[in-house]
């Protein structure tokens, strides 16, 4: 899976999760940009990503994720 495919899949996960088909992500998008993106939704996003990419995040993986770019890098690292 290349980086663009991962980006598209993550964007789809965000759209599903926030029930907003018009949502457009950038690497810089963070919790401040999406009103409902709180700690609970962060967990739901991570869970959906685990399912989508068939990966499992470890405790250390999920700390200090600041924005969409961090999420993408994490998926790229674990699916490499």
């Amino acid at each position: 899976m290349d980086n663009q495919m991962i980006f598209d899949a993550v964007q789809e996960i965000f759209r599903d999760n926030f029930d907003d088909d018009t949502l457009v992500l950038t690497r810089e998008t963070c919790a401040d940009d999406i009103e409902d993106w709180d700690s609970l939704e962060q967990i739901n996003l991570l869970t959906a990503m685990e399912k989508k990419f068939a990966i499992k995040f470890k405790l250390e993986d999920v700390r200090g994720l600041k924005n969409v770019g961090d999420l993408l890098d994490l998926v790229v690292r674990l699916t490499a």
Binding site: I13, D16, D19, L40, I43, T47
Partner: protein
């Protein structure tokens, strides 16, 4: 596939919960309920999933969430917010990690016993404090520890953590058995169902304080939601069952009764026999069994006449074996037994028949079926028939409905004659009394299960019903109806509140078993007599519309009440001023006051 179906993909639920919530709310027809969720484990995601399942069961929940990990403090030292919220149900969302200390191999027996007593007391006190808010309480029991420092001995040695938690779970079961209004959400069962290692996820606990792996949270919430919807009368009530390849193997019209697969001689026969046994036991919990099959009637009945058929003809209420479309049969049987189609679960091995029911009767639950050995699980895991009370009445319900079918036969013999003569021929006796302790449980059940003849659809907890016994500011009545075919049990209840010379009817319910028997008139006659004796000059009744209680929309008008107020949402207020001029209406039954 519906949310409550056993095979539903719960992963999709987590990802698309917002969409589900939106579409379920848009569909409407929901009863509002206030749900307090108290935290041992994190409650946010559990609340999300609870909300989706309750919406799918026809309940629109408003939530009050306790502080993280503060279930004990929030319940025992409420700062007033929980009391002000006035919950309809309290869910205490605790898990293994909320046990403060588990025993260790170095502990002495006395230390272990002290620990056990302390932990049990803490959860008992929390549950009792929750019950003090006057509503039902759902408490999680404990998932089992996954590590065993003593190996297999962990399950037998009192110092073993496994033994300790199993003992706690057994003690909580005893507590629930002895405590009205307390219900256990069985985390230990869910953990076993999923497999310990799939359910108990250390990352989910350390990172998020979730009681289980995130993908198992919907299952956990569904289990709690099943209890809550059952308490609020939102269970399914009846089954419409296909026959060929559903209750036995083969096609009875082709193979004959001796040729179908049933009984313990063959593996396939055993699977069908086990399914019949499961259905028979569902019947004993009060679920009504009905046949909906494309067959000749005589062939269909011959299947149940086999000596090794667990289900017999008399286990069924409606028995539709004909060549009509099954959706029409289902609608007809619903009408006959006075239920709405959406109280039914339709069980059929044929995907085409299932699809037709889904299209024609969208409220009916239709489980996916594969092989006969999987049928039980498809029904059992859905949670449609979650049992929160099990009274003698439940086991007898089939008999009562069968008596109703006999009454219908008598009624048909009066066709063209007078309905009053038919009612008199039933030799009915109405027995009426004020709410009392021996009948409180059944009255509570009736109040919370009745949806059609229910003027206000207000629900009362067991504690609230008990609080009305001997209340000087209330008038209460329950009614039991017997006739020459049998005893219907307690089938109607009414709660009125007194203020000066006005009696306001807060609640009036009657079971659909006894529609059109003049029991509502008999009860009202009694109410008028009681009200006059209490100095009442004026009665006020309210009709609050729901999708299910349309049949009683004009009920107060038929009693002579005048419409004195109506709001845009259809809620209506009726008043009866000339109580003195009221003449008793019921002439068809003998009245007994107890």
């Amino acid at each position: 596939m519906e949310l409550w179906d056993a095979g539903f993909d719960t992963g999709a639920l987590l990802a698309k919960k917002k969409r589900y919530k939106r579409t379920l709310r848009e569909a409407g027809g929901l009863v509002p309920k206030k749900v307090a969720v108290l935290s041992g484990a994190t409650v946010g995601a559990t609340q999300d999933m609870l909300e989706v399942y309750l919406l799918a069961a026809g309940i629109d929940p408003t939530f009050h969430l306790g502080g993280y990990g503060l279930f004990y403090e929030n319940l025992l030292f409420d700062d007033g917010t929980l009391a002000a919220f006035a919950p309809d149900v309290i869910y205490i969302h605790t898990c293994l990690h909320n046990i403060k200390r588990l025993p260790a191999p170095a502990d002495t027996p006395a230390e272990v016993e002290a620990l056990f007593a302390a932990e049990l007391a803490r959860f008992t006190v929390a549950a009792k404090a929750a019950l003090g808010f006057g509503c039902p309480v759902v408490l999680n029991n404990f998932d089992l520890p996954t590590a065993r420092v003593l190996g297999n001995r962990d399950g037998t040695d009192p110092r073993g953590k496994l033994r300790f938690v199993r003992r706690l779970n057994e003690a909580l079961a005893s507590l629930a058995e002895a405590t009205p209004n307390l219900y256990i959400n069985d985390l230990a069962y869910l953990q076993a169902q999923c497999g310990m290692d799939a359910f108990s996820d250390p990352t989910a606990w350390y990172a998020y304080k979730y009681p289980c792996a995130i993908d198992k949270l919907p299952l956990l919430a569904k289990s709690a939601a099943a209890i809550i919807k059952s308490l609020f009368g939102r269970n399914k009530k009846a089954l419409a069952l296909d026959l060929d390849n559903t209750l036995w193997g083969g096609v009875i019209g082709d193979d004959g009764p001796e040729g179908i697969a049933l009984g313990n001689e063959t593996p396939t026969g055993m699977a069908y026999t086990a399914f019949q046994q499961y259905l028979k036991e569902l019947g004993q919990t009060g679920v009504l069994l009905n046949v909906d099959s494309k067959n000749e009637l005589a062939n269909a009945e011959a299947g149940f006449a086999r000596p090794d058929s667990v289900l017999k003809r008399e286990d069924f209420i409606a028995f539709k074996a004909n060549w009509q479309p099954k959706s029409e049969n289902l609608s007809a049987m619903a009408k006959e037994i006075n239920l709405l189609p959406d109280s039914f679960v339709f069980v059929d091995d044929n995907p085409a028949e299932r699809e037709i029911i889904r299209q024609q009767l969208p409220g009916v639950a239709v489980p996916e079926l594969s092989a006969p050995e999987e049928y039980i699980r498809a029904l059992d895991r859905a949670g449609w028939f979650e049992v929160t009370t099990l009274s003698a009445d439940d086991a007898n319900r089939t008999a009562m409905y069968r008596q109703n079918a006999q009454r219908a036969t008598v009624e048909a013999s009066f066709a063209g004659g007078s309905y009053t003569d038919y009612l008199k021929s039933l030799a009915m006796t109405g027995e009426f009394g004020h709410f009392d302790a021996p009948h409180a449980e059944r009255i509570t059940q009736l109040i919370n299960k009745t949806n059609q003849f229910n003027l206000t659809t207000r629900r009362y907890s067991a504690a609230e019903v008990e609080g009305l016994i001997d209340s000087p500011t209330h008038l209460t009545l329950y009614g039991r109806l017997t006739d020459r075919f049998g005893d219907n049990g307690i089938v109607t209840a009414l709660i009125g509140s007194l203020a000066g010379d006005t009696l306001t009817i807060d609640l009036w319910v009657m079971s659909c078993r006894t529609f059109k028997r003049e029991l509502e008139f008999a009860l009202f006659d009694q109410l008028v007599a009681d009200a006059r004796a209490a100095g009442v000059k004026r009665m006020v009744g309210r009709y609050l519309p729901t999708p299910k209680n349309l049949p009683v929309k004009d009920f107060y008008a038929t009693l002579g009440f005048a419409l004195t107020g109506e709001t845009a949402d259809g809620a209506a207020t009726y008043t009866l001023d000339n109580l003195e001029g009221y003449a008793p209406r019921c002439t068809t039954m003998e009245i007994r006051r107890v």
